[in-house]
Symmetry: C2
Subunit: 251 residues, 2 copies
Amino acid sequence: MNLIILTEADRTGDGEFTLSDHRAIHIRKVLRGAAGETVEVGLLNGPVGTASIAEISSQKVVLKIAEWRAMPGLGYRVDLICAIPRPKTLKKVLTVSAMMGVRAVHFVRANRTDKSYVTSSFLHQPDCLPYLYDGLSQGKFTQLPEIAVHPLFRPFVEDELPILYPTETGSCKLICELSTTPRLGETLAQDSSTRFVIVIGPEGGWVPFETELILKAGFRPFCLGPWMLRVETAVTAALAQLDLVVSSRRR
Amino acid sequence: MNLIILTEADRTGDGEFTLSDHRAIHIRKVLRGAAGETVEVGLLNGPVGTASIAEISSQKVVLKIAEWRAMPGLGYRVDLICAIPRPKTLKKVLTVSAMMGVRAVHFVRANRTDKSYVTSSFLHQPDCLPYLYDGLSQGKFTQLPEIAVHPLFRPFVEDELPILYPTETGSCKLICELSTTPRLGETLAQDSSTRFVIVIGPEGGWVPFETELILKAGFRPFCLGPWMLRVETAVTAALAQLDLVVSSRRR
């Protein structure tokens, strides 16, 4: 935990937060915190800051906020659209998305999505929260990514996506594809967007009908590299490359 | 498994390989292979190819090679130097390194490496092999990354690194650092290397003495982005960004 994530439910006074769950254990056992010492904290969907340990015992840890400051963000907004993966992969996608500052993840049922995956409880609160909080804590972000589930592929791509990401407002829509397509630097050569949405396919890839529909919806293809990556690894690679390309535009 | 990795130990005849372990189960249960069908295979440290299923039963799967072809590589060589992480992270670093075509990983004991991690059996064969094979199978590579362990930091950096990666022969030496340092595109702006070695720090980072020694050994710093990433996520992000920068040089 690089940041202890606090929520309004933890608030027990003016600038005071009381923890008694795994965060309290982390402060005691991993950080070996003692009364008077400070820890880095973040308020869920709010600022980051430092807090001093006012009280620490095996029952609870009481934190007093010393200072709040605005959370430094990415400088752009990035959302993901992912085929619903198996639960083990889903948890990793949730964590890495939160860790890398993704603002929304749309999970959509793909042709290659196993029927049972669609009903996974980890697609919804509260079961997805531990993975999102874990990512926020690691990445030092406080903005909880919005998680949405779309069980019907075609209506989502044809009807919902144009409303969620209207081209007119400058959303840059991207789809990761294997080989033969341009690299991200070329795809974004003429682009000055500050809002991005990236489509990541399922293990085994989209079926041709799905790819066609996504391309028809205005998504521009790019190739991550010469690899076949696992879904969560592809998410990391895509976000890492996007940040590199966006940062090079700023120079 | 995007590629069934075969070894010389599996060879039972001229162009014939017989499997009876988890690979046989994968061909039967996941690929639902039947006699006469083909599967994609790779020979460890050798070519890739296609093989037809000559025989399939609950006991074994016999494959006959139809065709071998040279393994398409990255077009450059990349090695990693990682602080020895805890075993859970180590396994992920092994898998992702093999998946993304890394040729050698040097694990070095850092100040922040827990003493117990140094003796982990997963740093050595045979315990590291399942994770490496898993990565090769996923990434469709056949070259087994070389894994080396260096329990003494200073002699490794001062004495071994200059021999392993002599600057004169064009090895480009890089170290991932947090913030304030240039991005990879800038670090490599004047570079035309085809051999890279990237240093990835431990959770919590190198101590200043370690960073100084690495910089003194000729490693150039770059910043991955605005995140605090887990070790295995940092490995993926660094390799993804390196490939993007190298590919843009080729245009």
